[in-house]
């Protein structure tokens, strides 16, 4: 797949969306803690919630994390519900204990849940109070990961958005000849982040910072001279918070696949007046590598149809990659929330045809999937085995946020994630998959 199809004259930016408000089968925003706590090495995430919240985190993490995790749940009990003053005192006590036991912690996130919100436990005031108590050693912040407010990846958005107002003001005044500061926004695996920084450095762009930072002492400063690029499409609130601080957004398709990465880099390069020759010489080799790596999976993917259940908000960007670079046909692109402004550049590149759905009514959507009989269905862990048992091949959506998939060097891996279930089904044919009762 060396030559990409020409972009459609009219993409899907204006395509009407099927909005559904029925039963959902998605994670809540607490789930983001699973990857955020690994990314921010001196942060602890304390969910103020119920046994359900603790059980969700444990189940989503697969009970597989070896060391004592940097997250936990302060489980509300009957007596906390009786009076709010008690709940605050209890919280202060648990936090003090936690900080005493984990001197390595420099940032503490109080994460709101459905129960804490329904009983109106004010975690922002608690965070202020606790920050005052534990400053300067520990900074206490809060955000909501509750299922009544956030869906899956929106938890990361809420976390990063709460960091933005606390970022230091960039001191440098912008002068006409001074290059802006570049901020990359989105929690990426370190190895992937380093690749992006290396590429941008090679283009001659310096002064690049990342949000979230790996450690709290490396938090970026921000101001009108800051321009930022998102690496994930689900960062709507963070985007708004950065704009409010005077920063400027570089709109671009998201850096999935060879095309997405190139367009994303190009949009940044344009802001920094990188000469075209330099851009080509820096990107030529990794572009060729990425194309080659994707081509290795073309056989498995080309001509196959795909159906997305809503999960991470990555769906439209992934559909763009799979339809344009891997030759797949998208039947339905479900997403928990379609942020048209952020995903516009991706939508422009998707040829008309697929149904876009936002929100969910899971039984109706399952009916549509059964009707459409896609070659590959991207869905959550609760739906995957039942659909496999019905003869549909599935890809777990959660792997797409837990696995390094961004930029050139991972483009082949991204294609492989979708190709593997199809290869596997072919290997196991004739189908003998009949799950036990």
């Amino acid at each position: 797949m060396s030559i990409l199809p020409t972009p459609p004259s009219q993409g899907c930016r204006e395509t009407p969306v099927l909005k559904e408000r029925g039963q959902r089968e998605v994670f809540c925003g607490l789930t983001g803690i699973i990857w955020l706590h690994r990314k921010m090495q001196d942060a602890f995430f304390l969910v103020v919630g119920s046994r359900t919240c603790a059980h969700l985190l444990q189940s989503a993490a697969g009970v597989m994390i070896f060391a004592e995790p940097r997250f936990g749940t302060a489980i509300l009990e009957e007596k906390d519900l009786a009076g709010l003053a008690d709940a605050n005192e209890e919280l202060d006590r648990e936090v003090a204990r936690l900080i005493a036991r984990r001197p390595d912690i420099r940032q503490l996130f109080l994460v709101g849940s459905c129960p804490s919100e329904v009983i109106k436990l004010d975690l922002s005031r608690a965070a202020e109070r606790l920050s005052a108590v534990h400053a300067p050693h520990v900074r206490v912040l809060n955000y909501s990961g509750s299922g009544i407010e956030t869906t899956f990846t929106q938890g990361e958005d809420a976390c990063l958005a709460t960091l933005v107002p606390a970022l230091p003001e960039a001191s440098a005044q912008s002068t006409p000849d001074q290059a802006p500061d570049l901020l990359l926004v989105g929690a990426l695996p370190d190895v992937v982040e380093d690749q992006a920084l290396a590429l941008l450095n090679a283009l001659g762009i310096k002064n690049i910072r990342c949000l979230p930072a790996r450690r709290s002492d490396a938090l970026p400063s921000i101001g009108p001279n800051t321009i930022f690029a998102l690496t994930q499409p689900f960062l709507g609130d963070t985007h708004a918070a950065l704009i409010k601080r005077g920063a400027r957004h570089i709109a671009a398709p998201f850096p999935f696949g060879e095309e997405g990465t190139t367009l994303w880099l190009q949009a940044i390069a344009a802001q920094f007046n990188v000469p075209a020759e330099r851009f080509d010489s820096v990107t030529a080799a990794p572009r060729a590598r990425a194309r080659k790596a994707i081509a290795a999976h073309a056989d498995a993917l080309s001509g196959k149809s795909i159906f997305f259940f809503p999960d991470s908000q990555l769906e439209p960007a992934l559909a763009r990659f799979l339809t344009r670079e891997c030759g797949m046909t998208a039947l339905e692109i479900g997403t928990p929330y379609l942020h048209r402004a952020l995903l516009g550049p991706d939508l422009d590149l998707i040829a008309p045809g697929p149904v876009f759905s936002e929100g969910q009514d899971v039984d109706l959507q399952l009916d549509r999937a059964r009707q459409a009989r896609p070659d590959l269905t991207v869905c959550g862990l609760g739906l995957a085995n039942p659909l496999e048992a019905e003869g549909l091949t599935t890809k777990w959506a959660i792997e797409l946020v837990f696995t390094p998939v961004h930029f050139y060097e991972q483009a082949g891996d991204l294609a492989a994630l979708f190709a593997r279930p199809l290869r596997r089904r072919a290997l196991l044919s004739p189908p003998q998959i009949r799950a036990a009762e």
Binding site: V26, C28, W35, H55, S59, G62, P69, A74, W396
Partner: protein, 533 residues
């Protein structure tokens, strides 16, 4: 407020789901926010179920609060009935819905559905998963079962097995076959496998077999009181308990049909000389109380281990647990705080842990072998092969799975001779377990590697269950190396290669300790005597 890092039990509505998912023809409408749907994956991924759990979540959102969450519940109920046409429905609230007090039971009743609708009280802020399962099964039995004529033949119900239970699938098969052999017909097995119409027939059985007190005892007691059915008290885990169970059935029924126990190999496997090395192995046992109490007896009386500690996470069973611990002369640990369990294990330094998935992880970190005997479960606790814990085959399985993590007899002998060596020692792991793929994390405080790429896959991602953790074993500082005399050097070469390095190091360490500069054959054997247990 209580800080939890990992929990042994989920919330009570997950217990209700275990009942609903185990049954057929029953639907559960749960008033809950979207994130609570995670619980589906416990069944579809961990248990590899090929169908979605029969649960409708209302998935109300913040914007619905205060306005129409109640209507949302009603329409979810009506839709679920129309789509799934269950024989009966259970309705309840998760932790969040409990706070908004919509009264699912009343709302569902107002719909006037033509099927039994059973409301559940699941106090999320007080109780936990096992309670939820036990309570749900009780309410279903109360709503549907009535006293009725006993069957003409001798029959019983099997009570307690649920979805996501530790080896319930195979235990039920084993005990069903055993009862069948004894001449007892199984009337109903419930909750697992039963539909609501089966529950209405519970009363025709002569007695009940309670396999899992954690999830079935309240229903069994209700049946005893209301249906006049006695229930069995013996949990048939282990050879002796299985025989006691058979005796209990005989006493209840007057049946005397002989039972073929030729498949029971465990007593001879334990008695044969190779098993001598198991004598007095120090074991720590933790899990749900019923499995722990059964395991403690098997460990002491059937395998010859030394039980150095035991405990359970379900406080509901603290009393019998304490009594048994007293009989064993150990302090019982009743806690659902896994840090406390970890501390107890660190203090006791057992040679084997019989525990849950939590203890398996603790064991991994500390380099102590562990066999899983109880929920909470993980994907590897649902093996493809037949692997019961109960009955005669269960006794065989216990022997194999408990002994497997340990080093084998002859090998252990060599290890004892050369213990404390840093590369070949008790903690380095048995040779039949292949590569030392896991590295220990000596301090529990140490954070996981911060590389996002290293994040392990979610629940479904099984890890290599077979390999034992490597560990940083005590090292001996060998400052200046003594000289090996020719004879001693050639004697050393007679020692099997895989312990030779260890023998060399131990002998040198011994020589240093004693200020010996030249190692002779005598030094070698004195060292051996010094380090041998």
């Amino acid at each position: 407020m209580k800080l939890a890092l990992w929990t042994y039990e989920g919330p009570p509505h997950v217990g209700a789901m275990r009942v609903a998912t185990g049954m057929k023809g029953l639907h559960f409408v749960l008033h809950a926010p979207q994130g609570d749907t995670y619980a589906d994956l416990l069944f579809t991924m961990i248990e590899r179920r090929n169908q979605r759990p029969p649960v409708t979540y209302t998935t109300f959102q913040a914007r619905d609060l205060g306005s129409d969450t109640a209507n949302l519940f009603k329409s979810a109920c009506a839709d679920a009935y129309a789509r799934f046409r269950p024989e009966a429905m259970i309705v309840g609230a998760s932790c969040t819905a409990e706070l908004i007090q919509d009264d699912p039971g009343g709302l569902a009743e107002a719909l006037g559905l033509p099927i039994p609708v059973i409301p559940l009280e699941l106090p999320s802020y007080q109780r936990k998963e096992n309670f939820g399962a036990d309570e749900t099964f009780l309410q279903i039995a109360r709503a549907l079962a009535r006293p009725m004529a006993r069957s003409a033949d001798i029959s019983c119900n099997i009570l307690g097995p649920t979805g996501l239970g530790f080896r319930h699938r195979d235990d039920v098969a084993e005990i069903t076959a055993l009862l069948d052999e004894m001449g007892v017909r199984i009337n109903v097995t419930a909750p697992m496998g039963a539909c609501p119409s089966d529950i209405t027939k519970l009363g025709s059985a002569h007695f009940n077999v309670l396999l899992y007190p954690e999830t079935g005892e309240s229903a069994a007691r209700w049946c005893e009181k209301t249906l006049g059915q006695p229930f069995t008290k013996t949990i048939p885990i282990g050879a002796q308990a299985t025989r006691a169970f058979i005796a209990e059935i005989r006493a209840l029924t007057g049946l005397t049909t002989p039972v073929d126990d030729s498949r029971l190999r465990q007593p001879w496997w334990a008695a044969s000389v190779d098993s001598t090395y198991l004598t007095g192995k120090r074991v720590f046992i933790f899990g749900d109380a019923s499995h722990v109490m059964a395991a403690a007896r098997v460990a002491r009386d059937e395998i010859g281990f030394d039980v150095v500690g035991m405990g359970c996470y379900n406080r509901e069973f603290a009393r019998p647990m304490r009594a048994l611990a007293k009989e064993f002369g150990v302090t019982p640990l009743i806690t659902d705080d896994y840090l406390e369990v970890e501390q107890a294990i660190a203090d006791l330094q057992p040679e084997l842990i019989l525990g849950t998935q939590m203890e398996r992880h603790i064991g991994k970190r500390m380099g102590i072998p562990c066999a899983v005997i109880s929920a909470p479960v993980h994907v590897q606790d649902f093996p493809a092969r037949y692997s019961p814990q109960m009955g005669f085959e269960g006794a065989n399985v216990l022997f194999d799975t408990w002994v497997h993590p340990l080093v084998m007899g002859l090998e252990e002998h060599l290890l004892h001779m050369f213990r404390n060596d840093f590369e070949f020692n008790d903690a380095a792991g048995p040779s039949h377990h292949g590569g030392l793929s896991h590295h220990s994390n000596p301090a529990p405080q140490t954070a996981a590697p911060p590389d996002l790429a290293a994040a392990e896959p979610a629940a479904g991602g099984a890890e290599g269950g077979g390999s034992m953790p490597a560990t940083s074993a005590p090292q001996q500082a060998v400052s200046d190396t003594p000289i090996w005399l020719g004879d001693a050097e050639s004697e050393l070469r007679k020692i099997p290669f895989f312990v030779r390095g260890k023998a060399r190091r131990n002998t040198e360490a011994f020589a240093n300790l004693r200020g010996i500069q030249q190692i002779s054959v005598d030094t070698l054997y004195e060292a051996k005597a010094h380090y041998a247990r």
